[in-house]
């Protein structure tokens, strides 16, 4: 028993190490992309179109049909994914947490409304909502982020509400109330820090999820501008050339996978350590 528990602990650490490493490489590469590839992946080398990977040192991952370097486009393209992941989750988590705090603490109408919202959200898959709305303003980065916030804040609100329901009855919160502390102070300084673990886990997993969603939408032509290098856009372009040039579709996908796997590993590790009672995997 002791031995198996020990190896499990080591495994948890392995998750963190592997996830942290993947994230460091991908995020570091993307942050440094302006310095590594000053041309932003736009420079065309017309004498080296559709060059296979691992052939020429100047283009280690090959080139696309316009002679643009696949490596520099993959690294630069990460900006879109990271921007979408970061802002959509920050927005949804802030708004959702606020609503969850109010609904769980004051109960009443706010709570009823929240739960009905959650039902609706469950029945309306994001991608359908997105393809409907993407046709409105055309497709754009801010629109996509707003849609993700609109469709995901409910998750945070539900999680926070759940924790607040039990926290509000705990002694330390009642003590704070008995001291006559103002409600906002109780909520943000006493309740929120104790409800934050699950929120953090959800945030990590949703950054991962939203990077996947962004690439799907862009792939369908409903996401970011096809002229801006992005992973989903590169996959859409590369699809036409799959018969002859596999590398254009393989490498952006690998980049997505490394980033998202890194986030999932870290999220998993967080869940095991912060929220051991979580039921849903």
């Amino acid at each position: 028993m002791r031995a198996s528990r020990f190896s499990l602990r080591r495994f948890l650490a392995l998750e963190l190490v592997l996830g942290g490493f993947l994230l460091a490489v991908m995020i570091g590469g993307v942050l440094a992309s302006g310095w590594l590839f000053p041309d932003g992946g736009e420079a065309m080398d017309l004498k080296a179109r559709l060059l296979p990977p691992f052939v020429r040192a100047a283009h280690p991952l090959g080139t696309d049909p316009l002679g643009r370097d696949v490596l520099s486009r993959v690294v630069t393209g990460g900006w879109i994914s990271l921007t979408v992941g970061f802002w959509s989750v920050l927005g949804a988590a802030s708004f959702g947490t606020l609503v969850g705090l109010v609904a769980g603490y004051y109960r009443g109408l706010a709570e009823t409304l929240l739960m009905r919202f959650a039902d609706v959200q469950l029945a309306l898959p994001f991608i359908l909502l997105a393809i409907t709305f993407a046709a409105i303003v055309g497709s754009s980065l801010p629109l996509m982020i707003v849609l993700m916030i609109v469709s995901q804040w409910v998750q945070y609100a539900r999680v926070v509400r759940g924790s607040v329901l039990s926290l509000r009855e705990r002694e330390f919160v009642q003590a704070a109330r008995a001291f006559g502390l103002p409600d906002p102070r109780i909520l943000f300084l006493h309740v929120l820090p104790n409800a934050f673990g699950p929120v953090l886990i959800l945030m990590t997993l949703n950054v991962a999820n939203n990077i996947l969603l962004e690439s799907s939408l862009t792939f369908l032509g409903l996401g970011v501008d096809p002229l801006v290098p992005s992973w989903g856009g590169m996959l859409a372009d590369g699809r036409t050339y799959m018969q002859t040039a596999w590398w254009i579709t393989v490498f952006p996908g690998l980049a997505i996978m490394m980033t998202v796997l890194g986030l999932n590993l870290v999220g998993d590790w967080l869940r095991d350590n912060l929220d051991p009672t979580a039921k849903v995997p």
């Binding site: 198996s4 528990r5 190896s7 499990l8 495994f11 392995l14 998750e15 592997l18 009905r116 039902d119 609706v120 469950l122 029945a123 309306l124 898959p125 994001f126 991608i127 359908l128 909502l129 393809i131 409907t132 709305f133 993407a134 046709a135 409105i136 991962a208 996947l212 690439s215 799907s216 792939f219 369908l220 409903l222 989903g232 996959l235 699809r239 799959m242 018969q243 596999w246 579709t249 393989v250 996908g253 997505i256 996978m257 998202v260 796997l261 999932n264 590993l265 998993d268 039921k279 849903v280 995997p281």
Partner: protein, 307 residues
């Protein structure tokens, strides 16, 4: 129990109603179908556009259009497509079976793969096999489904030339899309089966079953799996929405003539009635599956009803 059923049913109706309202409102913000219809038709005057709007009923205020849609919905009529005038119900009747076949095959693939793998991981908890299964299933959740679809086409259609890359060429066409959707779902389900089994395996009746000398296979598949089934069934219900949504993208990659392709074409053509119909059918499907799961759950576990 009756009260529980009535309440769940009322909630389900409310959800479907809310979804149709959101979508028909949103879809009308999305541009003028009259302009889309006349694209490439040469000289089009403002009067022509107005006539088209009149013919399609787009000149009426939104609430009138929406009430008309609701009325039709109860009569089993979802209107006619703006493109070619085919009744939406006919289009959906053609596309829905294709999507359902794909969804059910994907579910089957994922169940067949996930149950043995998840049980294996739970039994070997903390061991090397568990770690490999966990990391691989996490990796399976870490790429977009359409990329897996592209890779499947690359390997099985382009390199090996075993299977048709897209469209419908007989039953072999089903294999690639179903595998793609199934594998993605497997990754999630393996983790679920593992968690549920871990909980069950620590129960005392499992110890009893083992103590009385039952074969390990019987203990795992007959005693433990049955008792882990409830959380699994619930989660498959919740997953259904995600599965169907994922199919939208997979259908596009494989040119599968299902609801996803219908929806995407409707968006690019501003074909309101079709899009509205597709989303309504999706919502009814998802809500229906969840309702069924809730009812089954309530029948099996009396504690849920009183909540």
């Amino acid at each position: 129990m009756t009260l529980f059923l009535i309440r769940r049913f009322a909630q389900a109706l409310f959800v479907v109603f809310a979804v149709t309202l959101i979508v028909s409102w949103a879809v009308r913000l999305s541009g003028d179908p009259a302009v889309m219809l006349t694209q490439g038709a040469g000289s089009v005057t403002e009067q022509d556009l107005a006539n088209i709007r009149l013919a399609l009923g787009l000149d009426r205020p939104f609430h009138v259009q929406y009430l008309g849609f609701l009325k039709g919905l109860f009569a089993g009529d979802l209107g006619n497509s703006f493109m070619g005038g085919t009744p939406v119900t006919v289009l959906i009747a053609k596309a829905l079976p294709a999507t359902l076949i794909l969804a059910v095959s994907a579910l089957l693939v994922s169940i067949v793969l996930a149950i043995p793998l998840g049980i294996r991981a739970a039994v070997k908890r903390g061991g090397a096999e568990d770690q490999v299964i966990r990391i691989v299933s996490l990796a399976g959740l870490s790429f977009p489904n359409f990329w897996l679809a592209l890779m499947m086409v690359l390997v099985f259609s382009i390199l090996l030339k075993w299977l048709p890359p897209s469209g419908w060429d007989g039953p072999t066409s089903l294999i690639l899309p179903a595998l793609t959707a199934g594998v993605i779902n497997t990754a999630a389900n393996v983790r679920l089966v593992r968690t549920a089994m871990l909980e069950t395996l620590s129960a005392q009746y499992i110890m009893v079953a083992r103590a009385k000398g039952l074969a390990e296979r019987v203990v795992l598949y007959k005693h433990a799996l049955r008792n882990s089934a409830i959380p699994l069934i619930t989660y498959v219900g919740i997953q259904f929405g995600g599965l169907v949504a994922g199919l939208v993208v997979i259908e596009r990659v494989f040119n599968w003539p299902g609801m996803g392709s219908l929806a995407l074409d409707a968006v690019s053509g501003r074909d309101y009635p079709v899009l509205q119909g597709v989303v309504t059918v999706f919502a009814v499907l998802i809500v229906g599956v969840n309702l069924a799961v809730d009812i089954v759950y309530g029948l099996v576990d009396p504690r849920i009803r009183t909540e």
